[in-house]
């Protein structure tokens, strides 16, 4: 860890972007209090040593096989998810609010799902229009009247947050089905500790390692038999799935088997695994197979990934599935604008976290506004994810906007629009030195019958391409370690 005397300073030419919150520096160029320690440490290291450590980090990911598969490559190439060494740092007060806001939001989403698949009070009382709920792609009428074990629908949630120009965290998107990426949070942390041991010793950062244990606890709490950890498994589509690393990682760190659909079968409405010593009951599955592929008897007939009959077993309460079936209606982009109303309706509370002003094209008035203001808005297809089916109006060409106008008019239910938020930036290593790049944050929220827990931090995704607002890994995004500082670790640093 020798540091050369003539270390070239890293942040010398760093320039924040106008009208954008920077996580490290104020507009006058002075570091924010929570970033002071890390800035000093990085300056001490200098450019040359920083490069060496970035190499070490990349090699560590490759060695550990912490990779995702690339579908298009027939030879089964695996890539590492680009990792940027400069951490995102969040001060304790700001995090405290995020944590409370997320718990509140998950309670509301869970209450919404319970209601939608039971009495649908939220529709009959006129809070959300029926066609938005019942017309959502993720609403599954087959689930009507089925209450999942323990009444928990959203065991694992990933809520995408962004920081606007004022630095406040607001909700960009909910994911109540199978949010991925948590394995990178844990692996990023391990690599950072290896690469920057000194910084870690000094920085008072909240740990993330307990996630798998919290997860297995939450899963066990909804098992038909109390604390039936032995019958818990992770269900994966298989080694060719791009997120297989994560499935395997979670199984390993929870100490439970990783199974594929073909390892399981259903008999007498109970789920069994095929083992070397004969059938074994399975009563809780953390399934990473999407609803349509879960059971060819109920959903897509051509699915070879799923388990025939598992929905019957689920309906009988003989197996708990995390997340519950049918959650897609809660994280539908068309439902998102109503989440604040949901919070008021079910919890009689005011939302703690704000969210982005959203125009629902299904509404006549909103549609008119959207079509007339395409050059200012970000338009998203309701049923797409991963940054696809999206128009970033201010950056789009005239033709692209005309194309989207046509699509919106043809199928208004499928589109929402939002003003473009100037996503906050975080200093990031680029080929031209350290520069501001836009980031978002996906915290992970676990819910069992005993309560809700938020992983301190989450996955910071960063748009590595200059000027880009898209952070998805499939589109040139990378990730960063996310540090939530312990309260009391910044004495005298009040900002």
């Amino acid at each position: 860890m020798a540091v050369t005397r003539d270390a070239q300073p890293l942040f010398e030419r760093y320039q924040t972007l106008a009208g954008t919150w920077d996580e490290y520096f104020r507009e006058d160029g002075t570091p924010r209090s929570q970033a002071r320690r890390i800035v000093a440490e990085l300056e001490r290291i200098g450019v040359k040593e920083f490069r060496a450590r970035q190499k070490l980090a990349d090699a560590t990911f490759l060695r550990g096989g912490i990779t995702f598969s690339v579908y298009s490559d027939r030879r089964g190439a695996e890539r590492i998810f680009p990792f940027d060494l400069i951490p995102r740092v969040i001060d304790p007060a700001r995090w405290d609010r995020v944590e409370r806001g997320l718990i509140q939001r998950i309670r509301a989403l869970n209450a919404f799902l319970a209601d939608v698949y039971a009495d649908q009070r939220i529709i009959s009382e006129g809070v959300i229009p029926a066609d938005l709920v019942l017309g959502a792609k993720g609403y599954l009428p087959e689930m009507q009247g089925i209450r999942p074990p323990g009444g928990v629908h959203v065991h694992i949630a990933g809520i995408d947050l962004i920081q606007g120009p004022d630095g406040e965290f607001i909700v960009l998107e909910d994911n109540a089905r199978t949010p991925s990426g948590v394995s990178y949070v844990l692996e990023n942390r391990t690599v950072m500790k290896k690469v920057f041991p000194r910084v870690f010793a000094q920085s008072h950062i909240r740990g993330v390692e307990e996630y798998p244990l919290r997860l297995v606890e939450a899963l066990a709490s909804v098992g038909p038999a109390p604390d039936a950890e032995e019958g818990t498994a992770v269900l994966t589509p298989g080694p060719f799935n791009s997120a297989y690393f994560e499935h395997s990682f979670l199984a390993r760190r929870m100490g439970v088997p990783l199974v594929e659909g073909r390892d399981l079968y259903v008999e007498d409405d109970r789920v069994y695994a095929r083992t070397t010593l004969g059938p074994r009951r399975i009563d809780v599955l953390y399934r990473r197979i999407d609803d349509p592929f879960l059971d060819p008897e109920t959903f897509r007939k051509d699915s070879v990934l799923g388990v025939p009959g598992i929905v019957r077993a689920y309906a009988k309460g003989n197996v708990a599935l995390a997340n519950a079936i049918g959650n897609g209606v809660a994280d539908d982009k068309g439902i998102y604008p109503f989440v604040p109303d949901m919070i008021r309706f079910y919890l009689s509370e005011e939302p703690i976290l704000g969210q982005v002003r959203t125009y629902v094209c299904a509404r006549e008035e909103d549609r008119k506004y959207v079509v007339d203001h395409l050059d200012e808005l970000v338009v998203k297809a309701v049923n797409e994810a991963g940054g696809y089916g999206m128009l970033i109006g201010p950056q789009a060409t005239r033709r692209e906007r005309a194309d989207f106008r046509g699509r919106i008019e043809a199928d208004p239910r499928n589109y929402i629009a939002q003003p473009r938020i100037e996503l906050s930036t975080c200093p990031t290593w680029t080929s031209k030195g350290i520069a501001p790049r836009r980031v978002d944050l996906r915290p992970y929220v676990l819910t069992g019958t005993k309560g809700t827990w938020v992983l301190p931090g989450g996955l910071t995704r960063v748009a590595l391409v200059e000027g880009s607002y898209v952070v998805n890994s499939s589109q040139g995004g990378g990730s960063k370690d996310t540090w939530v500082l312990r309260s009391g670790s910044m004495q005298g640093d009040a900002e």
Binding site: F249, V259, R262, D263, Y265, E267, R274, T275, T276, L277
Partner: protein
């Protein structure tokens, strides 16, 4: 444990064993063919035959080059389309390991993945060009390290037992194949009348199995065909002898059946007991009288049959009770496997 996972454990170790054996053979042959007077056809071709790839190899090279050591080494080490090459076996081992990362220890995965990343690097190719002996030693040593790490870091229960079952079964078959090298080089072994250079060749075969010093602890005489064959077939304690490994297969079959019903693993255990009994009833004299090559062929075929019995008993069990759809599509690697097994057999 989950049947599919048990299958991957079993094959993981079989592939690691293949990497180790082939690397050792290539390294030994490289080092020792230098000082023995051998006809060109006897130097390298037998290794291709033992790997079960002669037909495929001859399709790929011009006849005059078929006995060129460089071509053989290139083919057996790097060729991605040769399912028995070091490269292909390591890829298969690593892919099995990747599939069951939740079952093996992190250290095991890192060792194997490291070796794979290295084999695909420029460094590995450079080392291959500059110092072949060290190149093959590194491969061999990492495989041995893998076994040591497994022993020290895994729970000693079903997954580990299936892994060791794979190693033992693979060793029994591999030793039989290796012992047949001289048959492929010079034809039927006549124990009574061996030419002087035979000693050097038998020594090489012992080296292929890392068996020189263990052999010398048993006998101080110069290695003859009969003595080496007897040692590699029957020695009760040599880590790579056929009989010893059949005993180990038996032990692991008992272990992985424990906790099941009386029927668990019955077909495999019965076949193993028969095979072991039959081998134990032979002596080196009866083997040579029958023909060494014929006995070795029988061993190789029987280990393949055992592998299929283990598959039916443990990896693809038919769930008999009740409803229909429980016999599902287990078609992982066994197909690719049985074809490469088949190729192995055709050579024997």
């Amino acid at each position: 444990m989950i049947s599919r996972v048990a299958e991957s454990c079993f094959w993981l170790n079989r592939y690691v064993e293949r990497v180790e054996v082939l690397s050792r053979m290539l390294g030994v042959n490289f080092a020792f063919q230098l000082d023995i007077e051998l006809a060109a056809t006897e130097r390298w071709r037998p290794l291709v035959i033992v790997a079960g790839q002669e037909e495929d190899f001859l399709k790929r090279v011009e006849a005059p080059q078929a006995d060129d050591g460089e071509r053989v080494q290139e083919y057996l080490t790097w060729n991605e389309e040769n399912p028995s090459s070091v490269y292909s076996s390591l890829r298969a081992a690593r892919e099995n390991a990747r599939t069951i990362r939740e079952t093996i220890s992190l250290e095991m995965w890192e060792t194997l993945n490291d070796l794979w990343v290295w084999l695909r690097s420029k460094d590995a190719h450079k080392l291959y060009e500059r110092n072949r002996t060290t190149f093959y030693s590194r491969l061999r040593d990492q495989c041995l390290l893998f076994h040591g790490i497994a022993q020290a870091t895994m729970l000693h229960e079903a997954p580990f037992e299936f892994m060791r079952l794979g190693t033992a079964l693979e060793r029994a078959g591999q030793t039989a194949r290796v012992l047949d090298v001289r048959h492929h080089a010079v034809g039927p072994v006549d124990a009574a009348e061996e030419p002087p250079e035979a000693i050097a060749q038998w020594l090489t075969i012992l080296r292929f199995c890392s068996g020189v010093e263990p052999f010398l602890k048993r006998r101080t005489a110069a290695p003859s065909g009969a003595a080496v064959a007897e040692f590699l077939l029957f020695d009760p304690a040599f880590a790579r002898s056929v009989l010893h490994n059949l005993d180990r297969v038996g032990n692991f079959l008992e272990l992985v059946s424990t906790g099941g019903t009386a029927d668990t693993g019955r077909a495999s255990r019965t076949l193993l007991a028969e095979t072991r009994g039959q081998l134990a009833s032979m002596s080196i004299e009866t083997v040579l009288a029958e023909g060494l090559h014929e006995t070795l062929t029988w061993i190789v075929e029987t280990t393949a049959e055992l592998s299929r019995a283990i598959h039916r008993d443990f990896f693809d069990p038919i769930v008999v009770r009740g409803s229909s759809q429980t016999q599902t599509q287990t078609q992982t690697q066994t197909q690719a496997q049985s074809s490469s097994q088949g190729q192995g057999q055709s050579s024997a």
